[in-house]
Amino acid sequence: MGRATSSSSSSIESSNHFAFSSTGASASSQRDLSTDLQLGLSISTSPPYGREQPSDWPPIKPPLRQALAEEENECDSATFFVKVYMDGIPIGRKLDLLAHESYYDLIRTLQHMFNTNIIWAEAEVDGDHYEKYHVLTYEDKEGDWMMVGDVPWEMFLSAVRRLKITKC
């Protein structure tokens, strides 16, 4: 069923109606179709507009549109690679943070990648064996090195620039 998403009671469309067909509606001058199309088309062909999609193109029914949007949310195709260095190893690695869902996930990957135990904000540490551990730190937007794990995961993702695994 169709509904204009400008209706606030619409419970169906979560994407914004990108005025695909109503550009220049009140303009009395000749409408330049190609401009309209450029405005509208850039939605579907280039990422800059992110996830916003006109709700009337391509012409598919709302149930399919919803099913695809849900699937899109589930398996994000976006990536965010950061450099990771470990103390003593001059050659660094790269890691896609968006392929991980939480700190636990990230730590598991790093421990595997670097073959060591890693301490972070929520790790339990055996006090007598500090030497065996490495600490995971990250460089934030201000250039400071912080221990990983104090802030919520999403906040961390927006702040982190690179990672370093340092000796205790």
């Binding site: 069923m1 109503s22 509606a25 709302p62």
Partner: protein, 582 residues
């Protein structure tokens, strides 16, 4: 001497009952309509014997007139909103309410048994009235409707004692998660078809199990997402006679007990010919259905975006008898090649887009379509969303498949030219209409000039429905179509440079059509007013965007959305504020 005066030569030298019996063999609506026009006597006999009526536009006639003409009515099909409502182009509350129809039918002596609605607003109140008013009501089919909740479904379940079919396709239902399924009484054992795949909420699993167990005639069952894998297995054990199955959640662990149980349950279902659903699925899950693939004639995987190219092709290689395939474009051109070499009986193919943000990963191109056309000679119906198309490909397709009845192509980037030659796709579509002499439905896309419409007007003699978006250069385009396509019934146009000149050249044409939709074109308010004045038998509606509540009365203003249709009952009285009927 023997012939005498022509006027006294009567055509019906058979008694009425004989004619009626003959008419019984005429089932097509078109044919029955023709029969009724032969003479007064045939009109009378036909109308008393007519049981099935199809009304393509609910505003073209009133329920009262319908009831008066066809007292023997048993099955009614009604359509409400225009087709483009499917794509969010028609605002909420535009119209298409079924309640007045049900109310009028309920008051009359009509013994309604079947109601099929498409794009209509159906309230719980109407469902309840429906359920209580017709003792013999057997079949309710709702397609792309809205306005009702599971409470309305509960009323149908509870009150229609002889219900055989409840088929809900792609409706927007407010799911109250009530126990509507439990409303089917224990005495209800008549179900033949039950489809609730579009419902979003939880359902009572015990209730569906018991319902299926007591429905020995159940042939078609389509579940919603909330029905888990192991319930499916239990249902299949109870209904091995199923012909059409729609699964719900199909996620499971292939090493689990549930998987083995399902495999053996499915193997008992030797009659399944049609498979759909997989509303939640992971790639490794599909092997469970391999045993029944060999006999499938219809496979719908368009709601399973979790399946990728390889999974799909592996599956399809088992489906040699497929006649209809609905799939997502993740199958890719190569996958379509597999379809082409496996599914030699294929008649209908629908390839839907899976990636709406245009990341360009999954998509099909002209290659896939050419493979299909070469491998599937029986193909007659196509819906194809693709990344790009070439004239050469379309010409090849036209040569390989001259039997198209429905041809709908949607290039995801509208106005995209042939990427090889950078030309418009006029020649390609021209080849299609020239080759496919039986073409009844056509949707165009890509870069198109007036030329394509010249071809359509010249060659598409059987064309009944045409959908145009972002095409054409001038009014000539639309005129070629209006002048050339004698059998045109529905024309829907968006974002094309067609204006008043095209609209007004042959106003009588619209009386031969069901409807015309034009949005974001060049027609002005003045043009629409002129049309409305000249043709009182048409209803010319101007639909305003909600932002435009202050509707200017300037005749030069371009109309955002216009929908016109022929009607025998004048302007409708239920139009909302934002619809202005001229």
């Amino acid at each position: 001497m023997f012939w005498g005066n022509r006027k006294t030569l009567k055509m019906n030298y058979f008694p009425d009952e004989v004619l009626e019996h003959v008419f019984d063999f005429i089932s097509s609506h078109k044919d029955r309509n023709s029969v009724s026009l032969v003479c007064k006597s045939w009109y009378k006999i036909e109308r008393y014997s007519r049981q099935r009526v199809f009304i393509g536009n609910c505003y073209s006639i009133s329920p009262e007139r319908l009831i008066a003409r066809f007292p023997g009515l048993k099955s009614l099909t009604l359509k409400g909103m225009p087709h483009f409502a499917d794509f969010n182009l028609v605002p909420h509350d535009w119209g298409g309410f079924v309640y007045p129809w049900i109310k009028a039918l309920a008051k009359s002596r009509i013994g309604l048994e079947e109601l099929r609605l498409k794009r209509m607003v159906v309230s719980d109140e109407s469902l309840e009235l429906l359920s209580k008013s017709f003792l013999n009501f057997k079949s309710l089919v709702l397609v792309s409707c809205e306005g009702f909740t599971t409470d309305g479904l509960a009323a149908i379940a509870a009150n229609c004692r002889f219900l055989r079919e409840l088929d809900l396709q792609e409706n927007e239902v407010d799911d109250h998660r009530g126990h509507w399924l439990s409303s089917f009484p224990e005495s209800c054992t008549s179900l033949v078809s039950l489809n609730f795949a579009c419902l979003k909420g939880e359902i009572n699993l015990g209730a569906i199990e018991r319902l299926v167990a007591r429905s020995p005639n159940l042939k078609s069952l389509r579940l919603n997402r909330a029905v888990p894998f192991d319930t499916l297995q239990k249902l299949l054990m109870q209904a091995p006679q199923l012909v059409d199955l729609g699964t719900g959640n199909f996620v499971h662990d292939p090493s689990s007990e549930a998987y083995n149980k399902l495999k053996s349950a499915i193997q008992r279902c030797k009659s399944i010919r049609s498979l759909s659903g997989f509303l939640e699925v992971a790639p490794h899950c599909m092997s469970a259905i391999y045993p029944i693939c060999a006999n499938l004639t219809f496979l719908n995987l368009s709601y399973a975006p979790g399946l990728h190219g390889n999974d799909l092709t592996k599956l399809i290689q088992h489906c040699r008898k497929l006649q209809r395939l609905w799939i997502l474009d993740c199958i890719g051109d190569k996958g379509l090649g597999v379809v082409a070499s496996t599914c030699k009986e294929l008649q209908e193919l629908r390839v839907f887009p899976s990636d709406l943000i245009g990341a360009g990963n999954a998509a099909v191109t002209e290659e896939g379509l050419v493979h299909i056309s070469a491998g599937c000679p029986k193909l007659n119906s196509l819906l194809y969303f693709c990344q790009q198309m070439t004239n050469a490909a379309l010409i090849t397709v036209a040569k390989n498949c001259p039997n198209f009845i429905r041809f709908r192509l949607c290039i995801l980037d509208p106005q995209k030219p042939d990427p090889v030659t950078n030309q418009a796709l006029d020649e390609g579509f021209g080849a299609i209409v020239q080759s496919c002499k039986g073409l009844k439905r056509l949707s165009l896309s890509g870069l198109l000039t007036d030329q394509v419409f010249l071809y359509i007007g010249m060659y598409a003699e059987q064309l009944e429905m045409l959908s145009i978006a972002f095409a054409g250069d001038s009014d000539k385009g639309m005129l070629y179509v209006l002048n050339g396509c004698k059998k045109l019934r529905k024309l829907e146009i968006r974002d094309c440079p067609f204006g008043n000149e095209a609209l007004l050249e042959d106003v009588g044409k619209y009386e031969t059509m069901r409807s015309l939709w034009m949005s974001s074109c060049e027609v002005t308010l003045g043009g629409c007013k002129t049309l409305a004045e000249k043709m009182p038998s048409l209803s010319v509606e101007i639909i305003n965007e909600i932002e435009q509540m202050e509707f200017s009365l300037d005749d030069m203003q371009k109309v955002e959305k216009m929908y016109l249709y022929r009607t025998l009952v004048g302007h409708r009285k239920d139009a909302p504020e934002f619809v202005w009927i001229l």
